[in-house]
């Protein structure tokens, strides 16, 4: 570095600067290198401020305790969202089950355990009261209580097996088969589960996890909807009925985001009686439906009939629960 900055153009400009009065604001000029030093210091602090492994272990212990016994069915959420992979790895298979990590919604839970990194809060439950909170370094484990909890009677996905479910496409019954899970790379769509109902016309139904329009994971029943007059029917037999049938439906992000696919109509029947119909239109993302089911026998059959005018690029998925003890 030399003093040549004060020569030539820099010197001329320096004179101009002096004339314009900027030289009086030497403190302003000094502020830039000061900000440079602050930036350097901030970087060092940020780069050396990592969550300690011991804190992860302690937080996991607290979460395992929170999910013991009657609370086993409670939900788990991680904030911020980008920390999920690390948290799932730290939690392990027992805690980070697919069911917990990809719920249809959080309203189904009486309590949700929130793992918060650096004080972040999950927007889904931010307004819920905190029943307890423990802090482990940069991690916090909060137990939130659902202020509008309606008791969940049954999650239909837990019944998705040969003894409870039949699937038909048009007039053809579909068979439950066990094969290999089909996967691919980006653009393949949701994994086609190894255990699935397969139909002669290529239709299928099986539990997978889709990336919804916001790329959140949703565990649900993947189907290819039938056509009008030949719907795909998924029937759950001997289901404990509540006051409401509450569920969600949506499509794999790449099939929904262009907003050019055919709508999908979901009709729900309890013991062959239509209780509700909801049409999913591209852009509605992971959409809730809620149908009243009061007055039916405690054990009833629930049928979902799914139709669409065009089946192309329609990786569609739904899930449902019965809620509210009658």
């Amino acid at each position: 570095m030399t003093s040549e900055a004060s020569e030539g153009h820099a010197g001329q400009a320096g004179q101009a600067v002096a004339k314009s009065g900027v030289s009086r604001a030497w403190w302003f000029a000094l502020a830039i290198p000061a900000i440079g030093l602050i930036e350097a210091t901030t970087h060092v602090v940020q780069a050396n401020s990592r969550v300690a492994p011991a804190d992860w272990r302690a937080a996991k212990g607290a979460i395992v305790d929170a999910l013991k016994g009657p609370n086993e069915g409670d939900g788990v959420i991680i904030a911020p969202r980008w920390a999920e992979p690390t948290a799932r790895a730290e939690f392990g298979r027992e805690v980070a089950t697919i069911e917990r990590m990809a719920p249809g919604d959080f309203q189904r839970y009486r309590h949700v355990v929130e793992l918060s990194v650096r004080g972040e809060r999950a927007s889904e439950i931010a307004s819920w009261p905190v029943a307890s909170e423990k802090t482990f370094g940069k991690l916090s484990v909060r137990i939130h209580t659902n202020p509008s909890y309606e008791s969940r009677v049954v999650d239909l996905l837990t019944l998705f097996d040969r003894s409870h479910v039949t699937v038909a496409s048009g007039k053809h019954d579909c068979q439950l088969a066990q094969g290999g899970t089909q996967t691919g790379n980006l653009g393949f769509g949701p994994a086609i589960p190894g255990e699935r109902f397969s139909c002669q016309n290529g239709a299928l139904a099986g539990i997978t996890v889709i990336a919804d329009l916001t790329y959140r994971p949703r565990r649900c029943v993947l189907v290819r909807p039938g056509t009008e007059g030949a719907p795909l029917r998924v029937v759950f037999r001997d289901v404990d009925i509540g006051k409401f049938l509450v569920g969600h439906h949506g499509l794999y992000a790449e099939h929904e985001r262009n907003l050019d696919g055919a709508p999908i109509v979901l009709e729900a029947r309890v013991n062959d009686e239509l209780v509700g119909r909801d049409t999913h239109v591209d852009g509605q993302a992971w959409k809730e439906f809620r149908f009243p089911t009061n007055g039916f026998p405690q054990k009833s059959n629930i049928e979902f009939a799914l139709t669409s005018q065009a089946a192309g690029r329609r990786a569609y998925c739904f899930e449902a629960t019965t809620r509210g003890v009658p």
Binding site: M1, T2, S3, E4, A5, S6, G8, H9, A10, G11, A13, G14, A16, V17, A18, S20, V22, S23, W26, A29, I32, P33, G36, L37, E39, A40, T42, H43, Q46, A47, V51, P80, W82, A83, E84, P85, T86, R88, A89, R93, V95, I98, R100, M101, A102, V117, T181, T183, N185, L186, F188, A191, T208, V209, A211, Y215, P217, A253, R257, N258
Partner: protein, 552 residues
């Protein structure tokens, strides 16, 4: 008139460039291969085959069959840089054994061109403002995390930064001191720039208006006679340039018009790839207009930007004063400070301007407007001049030693943050965001892109697979291209017995390189392996980069 440049300046520029190339070489081994590098490695290998044929049997090499069989590889991009990759590999790897990794030989030309970009930036700064401004500009350019990352790669993005600046510099020199040789040099450099990347198409929009503006009187006279009075240097650029472009890209030697049309159509109608911005995935037009300015603020060290704004404001004020003092057509014909500032300003706007248009895809992140960064740093260098001048008047007194100490101290204070951030960014340059927005974690929280091109597979191997994968395991390599994986395997950057496969369901281990839209691949792995829990997560400052799943 600009400052005089001596051999000492060339030595300074060469020193900066050499130091930068040495740093790049020293850090090349632990940076995995980006997706596109794999394609360019393959193309360069093909081109090397043709160069060999050219030296052994020139007549055979010049047949259309020989040309098309080789140069059809990756013909959607022009050939100059890939030719350099090929020649570097033939000379430094095959013949001289300078590099133990073939990939380093492929990457070496980009590294050299990156160093050259710093050198040219220094010279430009030294001429336009001061030697001190040139040094600061060159160093600030090298100390940008995104520049440092791309400077490693056998790709075109830093190459075009160098060639873009090379063309501007050659034009500037030919305008300052017109000569036949300088005009031809400008034409040749521009031709090679055309043969580097399509950003070059924009340069005439910078240079032609500028050339007419600085010769406004002649231009007006010519136009009144119905003539476009192009100066010789610009004429050479627009004639010699395309000839050099044609001569150095064998693919267009045959079926020229059709192939040029295909080349243009490919880039004009380029697919929109996915890119996260503020938590939303963009995959088609319209692109968010805030993308470019926000990403610059989030990835360029803040002190660099402050210096840039200071310098740019100074030049703007200076320009307005000059305009008020003497209207441009009364200005002298020879270049002066206003025209240099104008040239730099127009070049900067031309480099970033397309990203304010709603139809311009944003999938390349910051790399597509890196051609603006040398100019940004030149104004930052000017900003540093203002800082030192202003502070020196207050503190340094008349002592030369005191002034020198002050300048060194100020330089250190503005360079230390860019240096620390850039050094820390490696090998996760694309995941790096500046402290102002919270660093890597801040970028993740803001919903800014984590990475692209799948280059972090090598880190997944180093941190987990190397020690934990059973022999001959299948690994789903996600966004890593097959060619890139093969090269990593050949160079033992990943364990050679591991086999890369294209589906989680076919693998014992699945890698998921985290980007918002890649979530679908994450969830596929969950279903395939029956768990949402990775066995390991590669992280940078606590932010997940790659998840590794293991089948039961």
């Amino acid at each position: 008139m600009s400052q005089k440049i001596t051999w000492r300046d060339q030595l300074t520029g060469a020193g900066i460039a050499t130091g930068y190339v040495a740093w790049l070489l020293a850090t090349a081994r632990n940076l995995g291969f980006a997706r596109d590098e794999g394609f360019y490695f393959s193309a360069a290998n093909e081109y090397a085959r043709w160069f060999r044929l050219l030296t052994q049997r020139p007549a055979s090499a010049m047949t259309q069959q020989a040309i098309d069989s080789v140069w059809s590889a990756n013909h959607e991009h022009p050939a100059f840089i890939k030719s350099l990759f090929a020649i570097s590999k033939m000379v430094f790897f095959d013949k001289l054994h300078v590099f133990s990794d073939m990939s380093t030989a492929f990457r070496f030309p980009t590294m050299v061109l990156s160093g050259l970009a710093l050198w040219i930036t220094y010279l430009f700064g030294a001429r336009a403002f001061s030697k001190q401004a040139g040094v600061i500009a060159a160093l600030l350019l090298g100390l940008m995390p995104s520049v440092f990352y791309h400077a490693h790669l056998a790709c075109f993005d830093m190459a075009i930064v160098c060639m873009w600046m090379g063309t501007l510099y050659a034009y500037y020199r030919s305008a300052e001191s017109p000569s036949f040789v300088r005009s031809i040099v400008l034409g040749v450099v521009y031709g090679l720039t055309l043969n580097t990347k399509h950003n070059a198409w924009i340069l005439p929009l910078v240079i032609v208006p500028h050339a007419l503006f600085i010769r406004l009187r002649e231009a007006r006279a010519g136009l009144s006679k119905g003539l476009l009075p192009l100066p010789a240097n610009v004429f050479a650029m627009l004639t010699v340039g395309p000839l050099v472009f044609y001569a150095t890209w064998p693919w267009i030697w045959n079926d020229t018009i059709v192939r040029l049309q295909q080349y243009v159509a490919f880039h004009v109608n380029h697919d929109y790839y996915n890119m996260e911005f503020l938590g939303r995935n963009y995959f088609s037009a319209p692109s968010p207009r805030g993308y470019m300015p926000v990403m610059i603020a989030a990835t360029v060290p803040t002190v660099t930007l402050l210096l840039f704004f200071t310098g740019a404001l100074d030049r703007l004020i200076n320009g307005v004063k000059r305009l008020l003092a003497a209207l441009p057509w009364k200005a002298p014909a020879r270049p002066d400070r206003l025209q240099i500032d104008l040239l730099l300003a127009v070049a900067f706007c031309a480099a970033v301007g397309p990203w304010l248009l709603p139809k311009t895809p944003i999938f390349g992140g910051t790399k597509h407007w890196m051609t603006a960064y040398p100019v940004l740093c030149l104004f930052a260098g000017r900003g540093f001049d203002i800082v030192t001048n202003t502070v020196a008047k207050r503190f340094a007194g008349s002592s030369r030693r005191g002034h020198l100490a002050l300048v060194v101290g100020l330089a250190a204070s503005v360079l230390v943050a860019p240096l620390l951030v850039t050094a820390h960014s490696h090998p996760f340059g694309l995941s790096t965001y500046v402290p102002l927005i919270g660093g890597v974690r801040g970028g993740a929280t803001m919903g800014l892109n984590r990475q692209f091109w799948g280059y972090t597979t090598q880190n997944a191997n180093a941190e987990y697979l190397e020690k934990n994968a059973p022999p001959n395991s299948n690994v789903f390599i996600h966004d890593t291209a097959g060619d890139a994986w093969s090269r990593m395997s050949d160079e033992k950057r990943v364990r050679p017995d591991l086999r890369g496969v294209g589906s989680p369901g076919d693998a014992q281990f699945a890698l998921v390189q985290h980007e918002l839209h890649m979530a679908e691949v994450d969830y596929q792995a969950w279903v395939a392996y029956g768990t949402a829990a990775p066995v390991y997560v590669v992280q940078h400052d606590d932010v997940p980069i790659v998840s590794i799943y293991r089948s039961r």
